[in-house]
Symmetry: C2
Subunit: 462 residues, 2 copies
């Protein structure tokens, strides 16, 4: 297993191909390191310049006197092997090859050469044809995409590994728009040396990672993958989106990262067997990541719905009932008695509990206080339609307050544009997952329940 | 069939219950009429004030000398019948009862009274327990929700009917965030008098409506519904979201609008038989509405994918292959020859066509020019990941330009936050539907194809 510690937490970084030309990949990477506030030692390597962006530049890696933990390589494919060889000789601890032009365009030999050199020097090498790594804690950022195009997420507990650079950057951008944050981002491209097994192993042991999210096109070493798959979900959840589910997708994947995507049924069976959370789309990756990151283990599968919109309550009751393992809770008598005292007479004391369109922070507070103590309820969905007369920032604050005292999984559904989005960000930043549809909310609670059902079963077997 | 022409396009409006108190529903409705720039004659009715918001106020509808096309009634439930009776006597052409407190809270008798009066005077009456109507063309807006909470959509071709006020307002807010616009919004609540059949009939004949979108909890008159359902989809598409798909949902719906939601299988079979486009969630309503509004009839089911991200191409190829009626197109030889001349050597000339991360407006333009003329291709998905180095506003402009000349359905997938959102709005405002996931794009093309397959079959049978 290749150790990625120095790659993700380097004390010194060399950028080979660092350029003065702002259009060049090597320039953007150096710029992003400087912007991110990387506090380690930074060395541009450029044959044709003495300084790049104010930093002293070196004509080759061998000229740097310091010990280098990570070399980021952004040079044309044909000279990557010789650069990698120099890195090995210079004792570089790890490398990231962002350059493309290897197996994905038929240059399998060049890629094999790269893997051989990395193996010879026992130098963990990521890529080629990848975006590299990002860690907002250690402030490393090898991504060659400017921040105005791709917003960088805040620090958090979700780590994300992606074979595809473009899908990876898209998801990273999406995460930055959510309230939850990122632990590590690892884009591994053609996986010539470091592969998904090494990455899973690293993230499994990373204390800053609560949830692993993976976009995978193919698995190169089936046996090795099964070994790590058995271990990782006992420790933390893994959400996986597997591309190449159909023969057309498999062909496309082969042309993309030269991956043999393999039979999806086999992969899916394997993912299920080992308790992976399967996403069918990029949006589902995000839905499941945030609930698994923030919510505790549920005590069961009975859901209470509190809403200020009757129709949204109906749609959510439908979505819960259509979920394989979820059901609507029956409110306990004590809860009904408490609600009788605090709710206006027009509120029907049933589940979904429709607080009506004039529900304000106090009504939400009383309803949630009653529900949170009910032993017949395992998880809570709170629907706040911010278009209605009673809903405002006080309601959002109330939910954030209640969230701190309620020990059950609790998520929010809010649907709408600007006024709603403002409150969504407010709640998500406080660790309260917000969903934009009843089906997304239901499938996320289902994912949370299923992961913990798996974990409980596995632990009891051990 | 009740004629809704005067309700949706009134030359004069009375607001009964217009209040000076800015918290009151009657105040917000009057305010919204003024804000919307309604150019007809506007009459506040208020027992206790001589003027409201600068307009002369009347103590009762009978005191107004003018002929009133629409009376909006926002008074307590108990006095609605007497107010409605006065409207009937005064010759009011139609009314909207926004007040709640009828069958949805057990006051079935009060609701029956309301229906009797409306019938007696042959006065189309919407509601009770509803948000009423909105039409950005005639600038009517009976919604009692302020615009800072619920943004109002621009003028367009999608009409939306909703039984639930809160779901209705949520969807209206969502539409305002999209590039496509609204023709009519009709929230009909308990449907005591005007029901879904009257509304479908009106919208079917409305020349400003291209697509009807419906949120329905229950159908009160099955036979009448079948009669209109047979006719409407021959003329224009209807997208329907039916709440109460499960027994839990049906119970919740009954407590919400006193609706007997009925058996979903029966409803679904009926919707399918008559070529309705079935949505399973609010987001799907919007997805299908915009493609049916803007895109032409496809010549077949063969899809070409053009992308600047390989992984997104793989995921989209999967989504197309998993769709029941869609398949990936095989590029024609002529197309391949044209692409050979215009694409850089690293681009694999296959479908999905991966233009690579440095694809700019020119490369997209050449690719789409070649594809648009290929007879082996019926519909086009263009994926633009705006995080990648080559993608910028010039690419968005290029797609808008190409859209004008390509006669085939063409949609875009773009996923991301601020930089992406900016371009999404730019493209949607130009009539180019943008989707935020491969599955949403595929299911929308499927919906477009299925509607036209239905229509072609029906027309050929006539």
């Amino acid at each position: 297993m290749k150790d990625l510690t120095r790659m993700l937490n380097p004390r010194s970084v060399a950028i080979i191909g660092a350029s003065r030309d702002p259009e060049k990949v090597g320039h953007i990477i150096l710029q992003n390191y400087i912007n991110a506030g990387y506090s380690g030692r930074l060395y541009p390597v450029n044959k044709n310049a003495d300084t790049v962006m104010g930093l002293q530049s070196y004509s080759s890696i061998s000229k740097i006197k310091d010990s280098i933990d990570l070399a980021v390589i952004a040079v044309p494919a044909q000279i990557v092997p010789s650069v990698l060889e120099e890195c090995g000789k210079a004792g570089v601890k790890s490398t990231v090859v962002v350059s493309g032009g290897f197996a994905e365009v038929g240059n399998k030999e060049l890629q094999d050469q790269l893997a051989e050199i990395a193996t010879k020097y026992n130098m963990p090498t990521l890529g080629p044809n990848c975006l590299g790594v990002m860690d907002p804690r250690s402030r490393i950022d090898t991504l060659f995409l400017p921040t105005y195009k791709l917003s960088r997420p805040q620090i958090g507990g979700v780590s994300f590994m992606a074979q595809s650079g473009a899908v990876g950057s898209t998801i990273l951008d999406m995460i930055s728009g959510e309230g939850f944050g990122l632990s590590k981002f690892i884009s591994y491209g053609n996986a010539a040396h470091v592969n998904e097994i090494d990455i899973l192993n690293y993230l499994m042991n990373d204390k800053d990672t609560n949830v692993i999210v993976a976009y995978i096109e193919g698995i190169s070493d089936g046996k090795g993958f099964i070994d790590i798959a058995k271990k990782v979900t006992k420790i933390k959840p893994v959400v996986v989106l597997k591309a190449g589910r159909t023969s057309a997708g498999i062909e496309a994947a082969h042309s993309h990262t030269a991956t043999l995507a393999g039979d999806y049924e086999t992969h899916e069976a394997l993912f299920r067997q080992f308790g992976f959370t399967i996403a069918n789309d990029i949006s589902e990756l995000l839905y499941y990541a945030k609930i698994l990151d923030s919510e505790p283990e549920p005590s069961g599968n009975r859901i209470a719905i509190v809403t200020n919109g009757g129709g949204a309550g109906v749609l959510t009751a439908d979505a819960i009932s259509l979920s394989p393992n979820l059901k609507l809770a029956k409110l306990g008598n004590q809860t009904i008695n408490k609600l009788k005292k605090s709710m206006p007479p027009l509120v029907n004391l049933r589940n979904p509990l429709d607080l009506a369109g004039d529900a304000d922070d106090k009504r939400y507070g009383s309803a949630l206080a009653a529900i949170s103590e009910d032993e017949n309820i395992d998880m809570v969905i709170v629907i706040v339609l911010f278009q209605t007369p009673g809903a405002d920032s006080k309601v959002a604050s109330q939910l954030i307050r209640m969230k701190e005292s309620i020990k059950k999984p609790m998520i929010v559904i809010s649907i709408g544009t600007s006024y709603t989005q403002m409150h969504k960000i407010m709640m998500e930043s406080a660790g309260l997952p917000v969903y934009d549809s009843p089906t997304a909310a239901a499938s996320s609670l289902e994912a949370l329940l299923k992961y913990h059902m798996y974990k409980r079963k596995i632990v009891s077997l051990v």
